[in-house]
Symmetry: C2
Subunit: 225 residues, 2 copies
Amino acid sequence: MTFAMNRLYHVPLSPFCRKVRLTLAEKKIEVELVEERYWDPSPDFLRRNPAGKVPVLRLEGRVLSESQAICEHLEETVPQPPLMPRDADTRYEVRRLCAWFDDKFHDEVTSKLLYERVNKKLMGQGYPDSKNVKFGSNRIKYHLDYMAWLLDQRRWLAGDVMTLADFTAAAHLSCLDYISDVDWNRHAVVKDWYAKIKSRPAFRPLLADQVPGFPQPAHYADLDF
Amino acid sequence: MTFAMNRLYHVPLSPFCRKVRLTLAEKKIEVELVEERYWDPSPDFLRRNPAGKVPVLRLEGRVLSESQAICEHLEETVPQPPLMPRDADTRYEVRRLCAWFDDKFHDEVTSKLLYERVNKKLMGQGYPDSKNVKFGSNRIKYHLDYMAWLLDQRRWLAGDVMTLADFTAAAHLSCLDYISDVDWNRHAVVKDWYAKIKSRPAFRPLLADQVPGFPQPAHYADLDF
């Protein structure tokens, strides 16, 4: 499905934007990507989203914000291929895990590593706080262990099919992988899961992202990492 | 519908717990309320929810966490009365507003006023940080203005029927009203909206909450506030 004037206002290393990009690509909804320096927002941007955050999706003339609300909306309006299972119990599990990554993982890991190392520099807010970096580096181990525990019982994070929960987790981990903050050797089952996601066509544009001042490490785009 | 052994682990002045309590009550799902000092969690509690947060709902032998995932699950499994509209556009708007209150309002207001004034004391973490309190007191005005702007165009926050968005907003505002931090005179339309929600039978248990060390102000439970 193609909408000529669809646009996603985003930043490349935002897990919330990546989650929406993956969902759009998987459902073959074409959008023009527009980078938005949301920390220095233009009045135009604030008109589009009073929350002043990315992602913001302009879709068929409407303006949508909040990544989970956007993805649920895309799932309801463009159901193929499905990113939510049909039974209520697994749907709950998908939403629980999306919240786990966007809330708990974000607070404990993404904000402590990515925001300290990258966003602070981009926003001109100085150097990483080493206490935060240390905290995040420690906590990511616990989250990788939790993922391994889930993936020992299931093919994908929420069950036997790939869902929005996998994209949400991969959105966070891929940002952290860009700054080499994921120890893929910790659990083979987590590495295998990421390799499967990484090789999807929907993932390719994320692997092409380049952030000025932060050169892409060699393993980042390598499908055989 | 009655499930004898259903339990909600909660704290009285948590907006996330209140959102689930309102949803359960509106759908007439009876639960036993169990107060959980989540900041000093028992090993039993952490077994129930590795995220170490409330609310945690034990429902028909399953253990559910993450307030939005719980409420969506209740909506899908106990559809009457509906708290989500049927058309995709309004469903998006409900979810956007739930995220607005649970994320932006929470960060800018609830965490700056309620957590500073109440949670810190309950958790033995000392006195409110006056900078945070000042910030929250300032930002709540902006959010009340935004609600008034929405309610000038709509009967309820997301459209013409009451939805989970109204319960989410009311969950936050009712906690703040317990500590007299909401200026209801700022917008008549917001006060009228809250009066409608407050008079629902589902709201009654929230109005009976008592928190040791924080006596309930007279207006809090008064339907004619």
